[in-house]
Structures are given as C-alpha cells and as structure tokens.
C-alpha cells in the first residue's frame, strides 16, 4: 500500500474514532441515568443501608446534664401567647431563617426536640439534620440547649455545642440550615 493510499484512507478513518467517542458518551450517559437518585431518595438517603453511622453519642459531647423540667410558668395562660403580647417572663422561639415557622413563634413550655424524625415537635426535613438532633429544655434561669450527638452539630453562633448551654434573650442557634432566635419578654 502506497503512502498516498494510506493517507487518503486515513482521512476516512477519523469517523470510526468519532463514533467510538460517541459510543462512550452514550454508554456513560446510560450508566449515569441508571444510577441517578430520585428526589425522594435524596431526601432520606443520609444513612442508607450499609453506610456508616456515627457511633452512639460520646459522653463528652452530650452529657445528659440533669435539668429539672420546670412546671409551666404560672400566670401565663396559653391563649395569651403571641409575639405581640408582652407578658413578663414569657419565652418563645422565633424561626429566623431556613423554614416557615408559626407566626406566633414556638412557645417554650416543655422540652423541645429538634430533628428529622416525625416524633420531634420541631421537625426539620433536612438530610444534614440527625433524627434526634438537639433538645431545648426550659429552665428557671433560661432554657438549656444541648446537642444529642448529631453528625453536623448544633451551633450557637460559630460555636459548635460541646455540652449544654443556657440561652439568653436574643441568642441565635442553628440546627441544620434552620436558624432560631430565643426571646424572653
């Protein structure tokens, strides 16, 4: 075969190469489409079977400091709750960002559990929020916030909670992408 012949043929041999490239593309697309997670799968995938979960909360982080569960503050009838009513000693949480909260805020009477699971009073459907993520327990000198060994932490400002912390009026804290503000009037 002469050089001329082979160069004339070479010109046409670029097509099989392009074809191979596109076969690769089609195969890769098929492989990716098959493995694409649906939106539902994404929302709940955080601990799919086989994925490692963090071990049970380490004691240092979530020491269950005994906090006495206070009785409802006397003289605060529930129907009087609301952000506009200024009743001394009233405590509530404002949802500042991250999700829609009740317009009146979240009344703080009994301990509140934050998490992804349905049994939490404040349910946050975010894959970065653990099932039972954090707990806020009202107390006479202010409520106590504690992390329940969540993977991504509960944050008071830039500080990741290591142990229980007592909140003061105006404090912000975040669970996942949801930010709360504690009010006491």
């Amino acid at each position: 075969m002469t050089l001329e012949l082979s160069e004339g043929l070479l010109y046409f041999l670029k097509y099989p190469l392009l074809l191979l490239l596109y076969v690769f593309l089609a195969t890769a697309l098929r492989a990716m489409a098959a493995a694409l997670p649906g939106p539902k799968e994404l929302a709940t995938h955080q601990t799919p079977a086989g994925r490692r979960r963090l071990p049970t909360p380490s004691p240092g982080r979530t020491a269950e400091t005994p906090v006495p569960v206070p009785a409802p503050v006397p003289g605060n009838p529930p129907e009087a709750f609301g952000p506009t009513t200024r009743i001394p000693g009233r405590e509530w949480l404002e949802v500042v960002a991250g999700m829609e909260g009740p317009a009146d805020g979240i009344p703080l009477q009994a301990p509140i559990l934050f998490g992804r699971l349905a049994d939490c009073p404040v349910r946050i459907p975010d894959p970065f929020v653990s099932g039972h993520h954090a707990r806020l327990t009202p107390g006479p000198e202010g409520p106590v916030l504690e992390d329940l060994g969540s993977r991504n932490g509960t944050w008071l400002g830039q500080i990741r909670l290591e142990g229980p912390v007592r909140l003061q009026d105006g404090d912000h804290f975040a669970v996942g992408d949801v930010t709360f503000r504690y009010h006491r009037t």
Binding site: E4, L5, E7, L10, Y11, F12, P127
Partner: protein
C-alpha cells in the same frame, strides 16, 4: 434553602454555562468556517507551499513557482503587488491569494473529495494557472515607469486580455518579510497594485466617455459648435479653461481638450446620466477575472457644479487605469464592450482543467457614435494634445489627461489604442503628480504601443 438544594442550583448553573462554548464552537467551526478560512492572513491555506501549482504567463513562462517550500517570483518587483505574495508568516495577497484555491496542493487531504482523489489517483500537487500577461511586455511596461510613481496597462483589444500591468513603486517579493515593517507604513503604498486597484480622478481622459454618452443620448451632434470664452459658470463657481478656444466643433473640442465644451456636455447629461454611462461601460461592477480590481466611483457630490466638473473627469469621480483602458477598448471595437480578464486557464501537466467562459460581447455605443469618437481620438494624436504618442508608420488614437488632485501636482494620463484604423492594443498610462498628460504620459505611450504591436 438547605445546602444540598444550593448544590443543585450551583451545579445547574455551571452546567448551563457549558452551553456557551458548545454554541460558540458551532458558530466558529461550522457557520463561520468558510469565512475564517478565506481570510488573507490565514496562513493555513499556504502550508503546503511546496505542492502548490505555478502561475504562468500566456506563453507558459513562469511568473510564480514553489521551490523548497517557498514561493519564488522570477520577475521580482516587476510583478510585485500584482501577483502579491504567499508566505507562512504574512499570509497571502494579490493574485496569489485570489487564485489560492486553484493552485492549492495538499500534503494531506482536507476534504472528502481530496481524500478520494488521493486514494484513486495519488495526486497531490495543485494545478497551474495561466495568466494573460506577456512576460516581455510586462518588462517593457515596468521599464517605462522608471523614476515615476504610477501604472501602465496594456489591453489586447480583440480578447480584452490584460497583456501587461506594471505598477511603481513596487516591492521585491524575495525580501518581503525583511522589508515588511517598512513597506507596511510606506506612504507611497508599494503594496498597492495601481493599474487595477488604484483609483484616480480621470481628468480629461474621461471626456471620451462624456462625448460618447452625450452623442449616444442625442444631447449633442458631431457638428454642434461650442463657443468657448475661456471660462464658464459651472453653477457655484467659474470654471476656467486652459485657453480661449473660440467657436469649436465637437471633434475639435476633443482635439484641444476644451473644458467648456465637455463641462457643458456634463451639465446636459447630468450626474445621473454620467453615472448611467459609467455603468453601461461596466465600470461600476467587479470583474471576476481581474480578481482584485477596484470598481470606479461615480460622482457623489451634491454640489451644483458636480455635473460640469464630472464632464471633464473631475469632481469626486475616481477610476482605475484599467477602467479607462476598458472604455478606450470599447470605443476602439466600434462600441462593443468585453470584460477585461487576467486569468486564462487552469492546467495540470499542460492539460487544461478549467477555462473561463468566453467573454460575451456587449454593444455599449451605436457604431456611428463610436466611429465619431474614434475619429476624434485619432485627431488628438495626429494634431492635438496627444501628439507625443504618435508612431512612425502606424496611426495612433488616444486622449491625454491632466487630473487635478488634492495630493499635489496633477496626475498625467494617457489612454489610447493602435493601429487607429484596425485596433489591436489599448493602453492606459498614469503617472502620479507628474504634471501634464500630453507632455509626460503620451511619450511613454508611443514606446509602449510600438513594443506591444511588434510583439
């Protein structure tokens, strides 16, 4: 909005951005591919220089040739801006650029057709292109311009083939790359081919067209007598003539180049009439077989004097020497116009592979009108301003011109043909800022016509 939702937003945003290069690749590689490939500074087309075909003159002598990967031009500056150049660094210009596709060879095939040719015939070298130039006459034309700036053009009347077109100043293609920076900024424009691309006010040579147009339109008659008082009211200023010619007949007016007469005819034809006649002579259209020729510019000025001035080839009228040669040749043929050409054929190993269609003859002027103009032009050389163009033993016809221009002394013009009775060749001579056409351009015509006829 949680982090993961934002991840989706950012991912989507970035993936959308990828559409931009896809769109632009389509634009550049498919839609604009042709346009970009043909740009003159695109040296890709010139890469396979050693396989490129040659340019030959009408007798088969070499004008441009590929040797050792370079383009070589045996006539050097004689054909400088006409043939142009072709180098890897500077790209291509001139006829070399225009004929690029015909002479292209390929080391590797670029199109399916070339690939197939290679498979079937093993052919790589590009074709040769035969030009209409005569190498010897080109030398004569070049020598005539010694010491001047300007152009000399010789047209074969029966075929409208350009036999020679010389332009000075020129450049030497052999040292082009070294001289490039100087040539590029040289105010005397050595890169411009003046014979076909240079545009100049035609001055009195344009009176041929004015006369022919006015006669053909019935705006005057051969026996009309014009009263020349040495000046006339051209509209918004007084147009002065070179002399007081007194009462002159039309033919005599051309012989003495009477401005008053032809300004009057210009006024009768009007700007539009003159434009129509330039169009009739084919001056306003591109000529496919003279690839880089510049089209003439008719009068655009709206001044009241424009028609009168245009009648004597002034105002803002601009034409190339080739255009004036074409008008002259059409008159010489008895009113028949042929489109000038510079390209004769494409050949491969001596066998013709392409030839342009034979020129189609077009009647521009009635035979009688053409004869009147021819008589007058013969008289111009026999006893008028063009006396210096005369040849012993052969009658010459022509017209001189002295074109006022904003760049200094007037341009000297001469257009003409010979023999006057049975025309063979037409010439156009232009000398930039040289002065009077009768004194400076006409003498060159004499020598040029002699050589052209004895060819």
């Amino acid at each position: 909005m949680a982090i993961k939702a934002r991840v989706r937003v950012v991912a989507l945003f970035l993936l959308m951005l990828f559409l931009a290069p896809v769109v632009n690749l389509t634009r550049l590689q498919v839609l604009r591919s042709e346009e970009l490939s043909q740009r003159p500074d695109n040296s890709r087309t010139l890469e396979d220089l050693s396989l490129r075909g040659s340019l030959l003159d009408r007798t088969g002598q070499l004008l441009a040739q590929s040797r050792e990967g370079r383009r070589v031009y045996p006539l050097g500056p004689l054909t400088g801006p006409l043939l142009g150049y072709m180098t890897g660094r500077l790209g291509s210009a001139g006829l070399e650029a225009s004929l690029e596709a015909r002479t292209a060879g390929y080391a590797v095939p670029r199109t399916p057709k070339q690939a197939w040719n290679l498979v079937a015939r093993g052919e790589r070298r590009g074709d040769d292109v035969v030009l209409t130039l005569d190498r010897d006459l080109q030398k004569v034309a070049w020598d005539l311009l010694e010491g001047s700036r300007g152009a000399v053009l010789v047209l074969d009347i029966p075929t409208a083939e350009i036999l020679a077109v010389a332009s000075r100043p020129s450049f030497d293609p052999a040292t082009l790359e070294a001289d490039w920076e100087r040539l590029r900024v040289d105010p005397s424009a050595p890169l411009i081919e003046r014979g076909t691309q240079g545009l100049y006010p035609p001055g009195s040579t344009f009176k041929i067209l004015t006369m022919a147009g006015a006669l053909a339109d019935g705006r005057t008659a051969a026996d009309e007598v014009f009263a020349c008082t040495g000046s006339m009211d051209a509209g918004n200023f007084i147009l002065h003539d070179n002399a007081v010619h007194g009462p002159v007949r039309l033919e005599e007016a051309l012989v003495v180049s009477c401005n008053v007469t032809f300004a009057t005819l210009g006024q009768r034809l009007g700007v539009d009439g003159l434009r129509r006649w330039m169009d009739a002579f084919g001056l306003l259209e591109a000529m496919p077989l003279v690839p880089n020729a510049a089209e003439a510019r008719p009068v655009h000025s709206g001044a009241p004097s424009a028609a009168a001035e245009a009648g004597i080839g002034q105002a803002d009228l601009l034409v190339s020497p080739l255009a004036m040669a074409r008008v002259t040749a059409a008159v010489a043929r008895g009113g028949i116009d042929l489109e000038p050409r510079l390209v004769r054929a494409q050949t491969r190993r001596g066998q013709e592979t392409w030839r342009p269609a034979a020129p189609s003859a077009r009647r521009v002027l009635p035979q009688a009108v053409a004869e009147q103009v021819r008589r007058a032009m013969a008289a111009v050389v026999a006893r008028g301003t063009g006396g210096a163009a005369a040849l012993p033993g052969v009658a010459v016809a022509g017209k001189t011109g002295t074109a006022e221009n904003p760049h200094g002394a007037p341009h000297a013009w001469f257009v003409g043909y010979a023999p006057a009775r049975d025309p063979e060749v037409a010439v156009a001579i232009l000398l930039e800022n040289a002065g009077g056409g009768g004194a400076h351009a006409a003498p060159l015509a004499s020598r040029l016509l002699q050589q052209a006829l004895s060819r």
